[in-house]
Symmetry: C2
Subunit: 558 residues, 2 copies
């Protein structure tokens, strides 16, 4: 189209959307605001800015240049926040390594991303020791250390890599001034690997522009809420989704842009988390259901005042029973939806003030919904021909999406990239529906959907029903092969300790069957079988690993 482009006078500044620009406002309006690392250390935004300069100078000394990749293996720390800014601000790329992957997967991801330098917490020396000799591109290592003394470097590491020194020592010796130049906003800023349940991990990547727009879009949506889950400049932020996982959902960038007090808790230890929530006055976090479960079920959490703690749940569906339990504790929870490929946030499910007047039960249902699209998010639920399904809260289809912050492919994987983007929309592989009010509800990941008698049946709906039985600690519903129905649903149930031997599989099945009839769920739900198991299988980020459980459900009984 012959549009007229705006003419810039030669002296005009053509503002690129760069991560460094997120620091402008906090430094202007909240320079003395605090950033804490557990109760080990705290410093101001002013100091953050100096640390960013020092780190950039250190990395330059190590030979890091624009376009290079610097990998980080750490728990959630103030150091990680330095890295979130300094590395991309130099024009380099930060690789956030998922430390819960196994050593071979980590090796694969470092070699595949062609990382040049590795910053590693000494806790992960055993992993690095096992892979150091096989690293093809990483040549240098910086130590991240929480101990009083510097740990000895294992020989396998010191033989394979140049040891550059300990992080804080290097920073202390470096100049805080660094001339962070402007460059193309489409420069790659980050890379990390998604935790597929089969095959090698896949690399996704995001640009400066995408991360800035994600921060703005999230802030606009989170601030627009009237009551439930509203983020504001007086909140205290603590991540509970690891910083190696989809940039901790982008919140370190958002919290910094808004100038919030930030609390980094290190490794997620329930007692530490409980302590920090109180001592630092944490008011805003985000996590997957598993982490919420871990916190709520910890003995220290029993007497904790969690009221008013705003909590976004995402990553997997929030069971209604867990929503109700958290709500009872006064947690102001709501859900978000997204995935590694989407930066990640696509929707948030704030309750309206009318919704918030509902009964606890009604609110639990609403708070477990997946949400309303953020500004600029074009989210559709479509059939196999990419036609929209009716927005009646029942018709299901695949969730496909466009937004300004989606990975533009998988790193060096052209076929998988084209599959992801078939038809010009990013395919989430999630199955869901949209109701008349515009709420998306994700009913299944397409890879664990159950097809009974040729019809899709929602495993999550059945899980919600079974989870409400008083004896049930955890449940996963999977599909198992069936001669008559193709597949039929099987509930793998972990009983609460008190109930082991006190309740039968048959009793749970009968309970579920009644509830299924009462709830008017698909009649195929009545084919549900129940199997008691010792534990469920989860992925490295705490999601149900249904693919693995499907492969051998019997094994879980032992």
């Amino acid at each position: 189209m012959p549009v007229k482009l705006v003419q810039s006078t030669p002296s005009a500044y053509q503002y690129p959307l760069l991560i460094k620009q997120l620091l402008l406002t906090p430094l202007a309006i909240a320079p003395d605001q605090e950033i804490c690392y557990q109760d080990k250390r705290r410093h101001s935004y002013r100091e953050l800015r100096q640390r960013i300069g020092r780190l950039a100078n250190c990395l330059t000394t190590l030979g890091v240049d624009a376009g290079d990749t610097v990998a980080v293996m750490d728990w959630d720390s103030h150091r990680y926040l330095d890295c979130y800014f300094a590395i991309p601000m130099m024009g380099a790329i930060i690789q956030t390594v998922n430390v819960r992957l196994n050593a071979e997967q980590i090796l694969y991801s470092l070699n595949h991303a062609e990382a040049d330098v590795l910053l590693v917490n000494s806790e992960f020396f055993p992993i690095v020791e096992a892979i150091a000799a096989r690293l093809t591109t990483v040549k240098k290592l910086v130590l991240l250390n929480d101990e009083a003394t510097e740990p000895e470097l294992p020989a396998a590491i010191s033989q394979a890599l140049h040891y550059a020194g300990e992080y804080e020592t290097l920073l202390a010796a470096a100049d805080s001034d660094y001339p962070f130049a402007d460059f193309d906003e489409n420069a790659q800023a980050t890379v990390f690997y998604t935790t597929g349940t089969t095959g090698n991990p896949k690399g996704v990547y995001f640009s400066h522009r995408q991360l800035v727009l994600h921060a703005l879009g999230c802030a606009a949506a989170l601030g627009g809420a009237n009551g439930n889950g509203r983020l504001h400049r007086e909140d205290v932020y603590m991540p509970l989704t690891p910083m190696f996982h989809v940039h901790a959902w982008g919140f370190p960038y958002i919290a910094t842009m808004l100038g919030l007090k930030q609390v980094y808790p290190g490794r997620y230890q329930p007692d530490v988390l409980c302590r920090l929530i109180v001592s630092e006055g944490v008011t805003f976090s985000h996590c997957v259901p598993t982490i919420l479960h871990m916190v709520l079920s910890h003995p220290h959490a029993k007497d904790l005042d969690l009221s008013g703690w705003k909590l976004i749940i995402g990553g997997s569906a929030l069971p209604e029973a867990m929503a109700a339990a958290a709500f009872k504790r006064g947690i102001d929870l709501f859900t978000g939806y997204g995935m590694s490929e989407t930066c990640p946030v696509l929707t948030l499910a704030h309750l309206s003030t009318t919704d918030m007047q509902g009964s606890p039960e009604e609110q639990a249902v609403l708070r477990a919904k997946t949400g309303l699209p953020l500004p600029l998010v074009d989210l559709r639920v479509v059939d196999a021909d990419m036609n929209d399904v009716p927005h009646d809260g029942r018709a299901t289809g695949e969730v496909i999406v466009r937004s300004p912050w989606l990975t533009q492919g998988y790193l060096k994987a052209p076929e998988a990239s084209e599959d992801l983007w078939a038809g010009g929309y990013l395919h989430t592989s999630d199955i869901g529906n949209i109701d008349a009010a515009g709420y998306l509800k994700v009913t299944d990941r397409s890879k664990d959907v159950i097809k009974v008698g040729g019809e899709w049946t929602s495993s999550l709906q059945l899980e919600d029903i079974v989870a409400k039985h008083e004896a049930v600690q955890e449940v996963a519903v999977i599909g198992v092969a069936d001669a008559k129905w193709g597949e039929r649903p099987l509930a793998l149930v972990v009983l609460k300790a008190d109930y082991v031997g006190q309740v039968t599989e048959h009793a749970i099945r009968n309970y579920a069957a009644h509830a299924i009839e009462a709830a008017g769920v698909s009649r195929y739900g009545l084919l549900l079988q129940v199997s008691f198991v010792k534990h469920l299988l989860k992925t490295s980020v705490g999601k149900m690993n249904k693919l693995a459980m499907r492969a051998n459900p019997q094994a879980l009984r032992d």
Copy 2:
């Protein structure tokens, strides 16, 4: 710098920031939300979307193509909102004509912008009649009509322009489907002319990208407030800065993106405004001090419950006395800062919850501050060499700025454009200071700053002091030539009717002198003289026209 740009797989959608994308979320989450025009008409966002399609089809029929300019002369209406979207979404440019300019200035701006089609409210026929024969590029006219019957077209208009028909009639006959294509986000979307006090108006222009980023930045800042002035999705929006003036500060775009109920009040008639605030439940507006004064001093406003009405004041400094009066009425007011060249919003001055516990007097001072920079806004106060002045709340300098939403020049005025952007920062020509908490306070427009004894003296500070005298209705402080001091300050005072003849200039001067000494204001303030006048001179958008008042202050006495 050799950064690595993100690679897009061929099928990936490279999301351009276009105005049409602002409609995605409201259509998904609030399709039935209302848009009202006075009490004459109301329709849903769903219908807004249809009207946008219809208008685009109408304009296409009239020969409007991408890159063409469509000028609008209307009061704030639902039609204007259609135009805000449909015209740029076609790839065309909307020229928002300042209907308060005189006919010659309007003629100049239409010819200078090379407008192709004119949409005009019949109220402005007298203006168009006077200039129709001299329009060099406008060939076609669409009538915007609020009357029951269609008014007759003056001969001077029908002879010069092709009459295309009445707006609603044309829309009703048009198809609502229109294929709004993607195009370059740097396409020009808008143009309008700034109301300079001398010389021809100057054209400023904004791209799709700039308007989208302005909407996101404002929403992020407005939502981040904790209490004072927070905008959320359950607010009801009504503009009180005209839609012809800097896109009504961008709020029609912001309100639409968030899916708010919107109320368009037509011409600003105090009785209508008062009625709409109550009947439609308006909770969020923005205006210049003059309009607030107009509303508050109207007899109908006396018994109106204005508590909780969130109101951004901008355009000129908010006198502390007016802030106190509004605060007493329960209005939740705060200030913003910006100008035509800046889209406009650069800062907002939300009070923190601590601030809000202050006394009414303390709050009035805080609420009259100009504010904290929005995300991505790089705002500096500099001396003549562009070095930053200390942030101590006292040192003053010129406010210069970078943000992703600044005009890239003045239309077809290369020299003025280079002056505006000298040194790569946009020069606001405003004088201000920044305090330790990061608050900008604009103390003077540099064109009306008073230089006494070689030192800048703040006319606004003196105005604040004089305005607090019980007899004073309005005051403007200007500089007048003085043999000894170069310039000395003169307060032009309009007395309240009850006080005329009851108080002397001398008494006001003595009152001010005491207050100046008590407040510790610059000793040059003591040189203040007072002159009673019948009225003050204002610009077409209601700002004090100090340049004109300086030219002949004596004339105002009559």
